[in-house]
């Protein structure tokens, strides 16, 4: 079976030695929630070395900002230091590089709330756990977050029941 866009993006990040956590809809889907998602959201560790590795990978997968694709604006080292979202289009599909999620939670804050998951080809990645995804969406309580909550809560209940 050919790799999907997000698997190719994850492979590039993994092989580039980037430390990151998968968050957002893809994290929910990987945790077993039957939700549709088309982009990949990651939060990288924010130390200088990791951001340099990330920038090399982004360059290799032709990352540009989605907002003006025709202008082909590339992320740079100064921009990546910013905790703001970087909504990118790459040769491996859409990729959002986030500095924080929720109320300012960083890679380090999220790390204890992740699960390691095998995603094929011997690759293991860190994915935000479903309980934290639900908690963050409940906390934010935006229209978009609230819309996703029923499926996420029911999936979490099933997982918890299965582990009892």
């Amino acid at each position: 079976m050919p790799e999907s866009d997000f698997q190719r993006a994850l492979r590039a990040l993994h092989e580039g030695g980037v430390e990151f956590v998968i968050v957002g809809g893809m994290a929910a889907a990987l945790n077993g929630a039957p939700v549709d998602t088309l982009d990949l959201d990651i939060i990288p560790a924010r130390d200088e070395e990791n951001l340099a590795r990330l920038l090399r990978v982004l360059d290799a997968i032709d990352a540009i900002y989605r907002i003006h694709p025709s202008r082909r604006l590339k992320p740079d080292a100064n921009g990546l230091v910013s905790p703001r979202p970087h909504n990118l289009l790459t040769s491996c599909g859409p990729l959002d590089v986030l500095g924080t999620i929720g109320r300012g939670l960083t890679y380090q804050d999220l790390l204890p709330h992740t699960v390691e998951m095998e995603i094929g080809g011997g690759m293991r990645v860190r994915v935000l756990d479903l309980a934290t995804i639900v908690a963050l969406k409940e906390e934010l309580a935006g229209e978009k977050d609230l819309a996703a909550l029923p499926i996420l809560r029911r999936t979490l209940e099933h997982k918890q029941r299965g582990s009892e």
Binding site: E3, S4, Q7, L38, R66, I67, S82, N87, G120
Partner: protein, 52 residues
């Protein structure tokens, strides 16, 4: 590099409008192909991690 303010485009309710425009720029067949490959990949990963 542009002003950082111009690098994102979210609606007031938190929807990333750049993603919507990006997918609208594809043909229905391209969208279906992406959705299908994503779904297949996620199902395969569920199987790999089943019971863990």
């Amino acid at each position: 590099m542009m002003d950082e303010e111009e690098l994102t485009d979210y609606s007031e309710d938190g929807v990333d409008l750049t993603l919507i425009r990006s997918f609208l720029s594809l043909t229905p067949a391209e969208r279906l192909d992406i959705v299908q490959r994503h779904a297949n990949a996620i199902l395969a990963i569920w199987k790999l991690n089943a019971g863990k």
